[in-house]
């Protein structure tokens, strides 16, 4: 799980061009949107694409993203349970 968490952090930084952020700057339980990393709605769409491209997970209901992308931990749990690649 720790490996997946680190992998997700690195991918988020790369995909969302978070130039000045290091994996260790992202707390596992901190909110990704709003006060946390300050991600926006375009970032959310990019994360949905990332889930499909990297893990073969299609998120058909965009409102489900709110729970899935709550934090790195919730993302990792979701990926672990649903990944097809």
């Amino acid at each position: 799980m720790e490996e997946l968490v680190l992998e997700l952090k690195k991918q988020i930084i790369e995909v969302l061009n978070l130039e000045d952020v290091q994996p260790e700057d992202i707390e596992n339980d901190a909110p990704l949107f709003g006060e946390g990393l300050g991600l926006d709605s375009i970032d959310a769409l990019e994360l949905i694409v990332m889930m499909e491209k990297s893990y073969g997970i299609k998120i058909k209901d965009p409102s489900a993203g709110k729970e899935i992308f709550k934090s790195i931990n919730t993302m990792a749990e979701f990926v672990k349970a649903n990944r097809t690649k």
């Binding site: 969302l16 061009n17 978070l18 130039e19 000045d20 375009i42 970032d43 769409l45 990019e46 694409v49 499909e52 491209k53």
Partner: protein, 184 residues
Amino acid sequence: MTTKQWVKITPESVEVSGKTLATTNCGAALLTEVYRAHVNDYPKFFKMDELSKLGFLATELLLQAEGERHSESDDRAIILFGRNGSLVCDRKYQQTIERRDDFFPSPSIFVYTLPNIVTGEIAIRNHYYGETAFYAMAHCDEQLIRQTIEASFLDPATQSVICGWVDCESDQQFEANVKLIYKE
């Protein structure tokens, strides 16, 4: 019309109203270097396409040269001109959709597939609510640019304009020649 300040950016150098900034990099790396040295408080810069980075950076330097920062303003227009528009970003987006077996359209690239987004980025950063426009033209036609700026001053609300040439052919070939012009 009076030109108050101007900024010229090429892949090799950055000039602000006649003064060349000390830089060591070229091309896209030059833009990042200048951002870090002279702006460095707007992380969204790294999410922008090359055209927006170029226009944003030129404007930041222009406004720093102006001195006191004007924001929450509805009397300042942003009118830019360029040849290639958002073509660099259009091509980049095309790459995300051209293969059936690797079809992952990128939302963050897609949002920059319009050249006038650069004017929006500048307006958002500075809270400018005046006219914004990006005109595509085959070459930098100074006379036509001047006529367009004069026409924008026909709107009594417009007292100053950030205007000029912002063109990006690739991340290594670009040019910005931006001016701050006042009506009087």
